[in-house]
Point group: C2
Chain length 234, copies 2
DNA sequence: GTTGATTGGGCTAGTCTTAGACCATTGATG
DNA sequence: CATCAATGGTCTAAGACTAGCCCAATCAAC
């Protein structure tokens, strides 16, 4: 019975590390940017400053953050994803287990397709359409350094534009579960070009209000990266 | 930034109450059945027995559970959903707020459509197909008392059959967010008949391996109940 | 009846977490 | 170069939570 699973994934410290790591790895706080001040962040995360500081300390020790004191100080993001490499990939897969990997990929496929479908069904307002188009342009104009961050932002913006924060956080969660894996895939121009075409198809379907086409385009896109993963693992 | 939301939804006691309530309201522990023994349940929920007992005490005080000591004792589910009534509905909606209601409905639409689509794509094995057909038959044979519970079980089995426990728990979560609302809708024979046709369409599409048809059938079904909700609210 | 296994009820010592206050450092600004 | 606001660093007392132990009630089996 899946509903009687653990109420908490760990203690407050562990969950906080996980959450901050999610923000960092998804690029929601870009490299060079800093986290909100401790006092404010502690309130937003609903934990005490002591616990937050422990988590920040751990991430600082692990090389994700650079903490500076004084006015204009803060916790600056220093993380840069490791270079794509099959070794990293195999390591990451080994760490999470094949069962969990398959679970995470299935989960991501379901929620991202669901989000795209819902957005296509919702006939978004002009303002929202513009955001979507902007995010797509951002990815297409991105350099190799920014590509993954902006790709993530594009994907997440679809869920966000549905207006459902539950759906947005779920998609963010789904993406973060596979982000280490995706980062291990080399960025070949062929694949980027292919992705650009698929991204365009997704946006076109959403703007045209065609939920089936949207769902299908997202499914193809995600199946494509899953296939790259499998190929790279073999 | 949605990812810097609270790490925890409440203290251990509150989260435990919420979780048990979810199991009860979804009918995963049927009325008359009992929860697992405290010691075992505490381990499964990852909390101390003291905290679990506080939660059980609260639910017992609120009339959801009947706790009996001694061998063959335990915490027996006494909850029965209130009679459908527009008053209850308006109350429940007022309690959660229109924004959250819309969020929850959107969320449910996305994840359930995603689950059905994924299952249709996965060409399930004969054993799994049998489970799905069995669950559908259960709903169709159900009396009014069991209808909601078995309807829930049918919907959740779709997500479970994908093999993704992340997806299964997410669908359970989505359903539980609207379960009080759904319980407030009167069960008219017309609606039940309509639902039966739609359930059949969902199963047919999944068994035929047609993700678009599956997603569309689920979308229509959920839009139908959402429309009933809106009509009943007006 | 008596027994014994199973289950809820309750206590305690120790750890985790919090709220709040105060200290230390930094650097833009006058 | 003195000031001061913003920020990280540290401490303490109180509350929340846990692990582990033992007690009390119940009832099937003998």
């Amino acid at each position: 019975m899946t509903v009687l699973r653990p109420v908490r994934a760990g203690n407050a410290f562990e969950e906080t590390v996980e959450r901050l790591l999610q923000a960092i790895k998804l690029g929601l706080v870009a490299p060079g940017d800093k986290l909100p001040p401790e006092r404010e962040l502690a309130v937003r995360l609903g934990i005490s400053r002591v616990t937050l500081r422990e988590a920040i300390r751990a991430l600082s020790d692990a090389g994700y953050l650079d903490v500076r004191r004084g006015r204009y100080g803060g916790a600056f993001v220093t993380y840069a994803p490791p270079e794509p490499d099959a070794g990293h990939l195999r390591e990451a897969v080994k760490e999470m287990g094949m069962a969990d990997l398959s679970d995470a990929l299935t989960f991501r496929l379901a929620v991202e397709c669901g989000a795209a479908q819902v957005l296509a069904m919702s006939r978004p307002a002009e303002e929202q359409r513009a955001v979507l188009v902007r995010r797509l342009a951002d990815v297409n104009e991105a350099g190799l350094d920014d590509y993954r961050r902006l790709d993530t932002a594009f994907h997440l913006s679809i869920a966000e534009l549905t207006g459902s924060s539950l759906l947005a956080t779920t998609c963010a969660d789904a993406r973060s579960r596979v982000s280490d894996l995706l980062n291990a895939i080399p960025m070949l121009q062929v694949n980027l070009d292919h992705a650009a075409v698929q991204h365009q198809a997704i946006v076109d379907a959403i703007l045209a209000g065609e939920p089936d086409a949207a769902r299908q385009a997202v499914a193809e896109h995600l199946e494509g990266t899953a296939a790259l993963l499998r190929a790279f693992l073999a």
